[in-house]
């Protein structure tokens, strides 16, 4: 990801177009389109947060759905207790979205520190497997958690409250999500070039060299993991609000896999690329089945089969993903 001042015209045009269309979509007045775009923005947030560990740190976390799910469950559990008029661990439940952000950050952050402390001692395939294992543990925990409806999940009757923001209004909610994403991307772009970001990237490049230079790289990787988890949990809070639903599926390995696919499709290590990846993935998920059904009735169900070859093509010919195709591969 280049600095703003170093971006070529293709970068600038792409950013301008993306921002412009993101700002204008609600004005189409098409409720379906706004909902779809909201979903894209939320997954864009989760995917670029994942890119902090995957792209910058070179750590393939196959368990990021855990953080997404934890964020979503904060919303669900708060809603349920508020609805029942019961307390949660003796505390009054809150439906304020900012309180829920904070809670999600604490819970996901705690989980990230505890699991990351173990995962980050390993590398490569072991890392993938251990992150997956921790996420699966959490998945089965929520599946068997009767108190919160087990695998049926929790249906929400209303969105979280956003102070003077009327989040129940689809357009307001959309802009709220967009603001979260833009804030994170600005932060991430700064982070990329900061001292911290350089150390994390250096540790991906050659961890041994970084340690010999004097960097305790484990601490930096753990911090990146923590940051990534916290932001992903924020996306989880938003996702629950977007869908009016929370269930164990949010923590499943399919979800973790989808997030990785979005990052790879969009462009690993570019932070902005995963936004494009999320858009492409969700548009394919939404429209490809219908398109396939036109060719053969019932073929739509198998849209995922086309995703495989697409990923192979990206892996072989476009290492910087969709972003690389659009803006060129020069850094």
């Amino acid at each position: 990801m280049p600095r703003l001042s170093e971006m070529g015209w293709r970068w600038r045009i792409l950013l301008a177009l993306a921002l412009l269309s993101a700002l204008l979509i609600p004005w189409t007045g098409d409720d379906y389109l706004v909902k779809l775009a909201t979903r894209i923005l939320i997954f864009a947030l989760a995917a670029s947060a994942l890119d902090l560990v995957l792209g910058l740190g070179g750590l393939v976390s196959f368990g990021h759905a855990a953080f997404l799910g934890l964020g979503a469950y904060v919303v669900g559990i708060m809603f349920l207790h508020d609805f029942e008029g019961t307390g949660f661990l003796g505390l009054a439940p809150s439906q304020d979205i900012f309180v829920q952000f904070l809670l999600a950050a604490l819970v996901a952050g705690g989980f990230a520190l505890a699991t990351g402390a173990v995962c980050l001692r390993t590398r490569g395939v072991a890392f993938i497997m251990i992150t997956l294992a921790f996420a699966q543990m959490l998945f089965f925990f929520f599946v068997s958690l009767r108190r919160y409806n087990g695998e049926d999940g929790i249906a929400l009757w209303n969105r979280s409250r956003g102070g003077w923001l009327e989040l129940e209004d689809q357009r307001t909610f959309y802009y709220f999500v967009l603001a979260c994403l833009v804030l994170f991307l600005v932060f991430a772009a700064r982070l990329y070039h900061s001292r911290f970001g350089r150390v994390v990237r250096g540790s991906k490049d050659n961890d041994r060299r970084m340690r010999a230079l004097g960097f305790p790289t484990y601490r930096y990787r753990l911090t990146a993991y923590l940051l990534s988890a916290v932001v992903t949990s924020i996306a989880g809070v938003l996702l629950a609000n977007a869908t009016y639903f929370v269930g164990p599926a949010y923590l499943s390995w399919h979800m973790s896999g989808q997030l990785i696919v979005m990052v790879v499709l969009g462009g690993i290590g570019t932070l902005f690329g995963p936004v494009l990846g999320a858009a492409l993935f969700i548009l394919l998920e939404e429209f490809l089945p219908d398109v396939l059904d036109l060719f053969a009735a019932g073929a739509g169900e198998y849209w995922m089969l086309l995703l495989g070859p697409l990923l192979v093509i990206v892996a072989l010919f476009a290492r910087r993903g969709l972003l690389g195709v659009l803006v060129g591969t020069g850094r």
Partner: protein, 251 residues
Amino acid sequence: MSEEVLRAVDLTRRFGGVIACDRVSLALRRGEIHALIGPNGAGKTTFLNLLSGELAADSGRILLCGRDITRLPTHRRARLGLARSFQITSILPGMSVLENVSLAIQAHAGSSFRFFADAGRDPALNEPASELLARVGLRECAGLPAARLAHGQKRVLELAMALAGDPEVLLLDEPLAGLGPEEGRRMVELLAGLRPRTTMLLVEHDMDAVFRLADRVTVLVYGRVIASGDPDGIRRDPEVRSAYLGEEEGG
């Protein structure tokens, strides 16, 4: 000139049945170039790894400027002034040449838990990095991706990274490995130019370079120190000749 910067006492390390380092003791005096030589598999790299903290010693102690660092992790030792190069070139291939050195400077320039300010535009990091690059003759390559450098330039870059932060001790593992004669000559000049500011432990197979550079030489064979002293004495030592130098000339 006789102050001790680094002292290893009876360092021992086994790999299964192999004793790679067997009670190796060695002291580096401030400002000297101390060569560590020995045949393949003698345990030279293992010894450097014990000193730098990449490997834990089974027994023995390491003192840096009088401070016991035996149990410190690699990064702490590096921060205390123990820098090294690796036998197989170890740089950050994905970053520019300048970034490589500037990251090395960053390691010695306060906390890196800074998340906002642009480090690539920080003169406090870039200026010393550029100076170092100029010193080793890589200034023209500053903007290139490090992966694109020629092998010899990569080794010079690694040396520049090790020099960042003005280390107390420089551990060099075969800096001439894979260099052509001209590049090798320049590397020797570069190393000679670091004297007397930098204390060096130099592992090297190139005997011409060793005898040109070294103030003292220690010979390691099968994990044991068989001789240590000034270069002339080492050259004449019959045990060294039969165990090592003779082999070298014969082979």
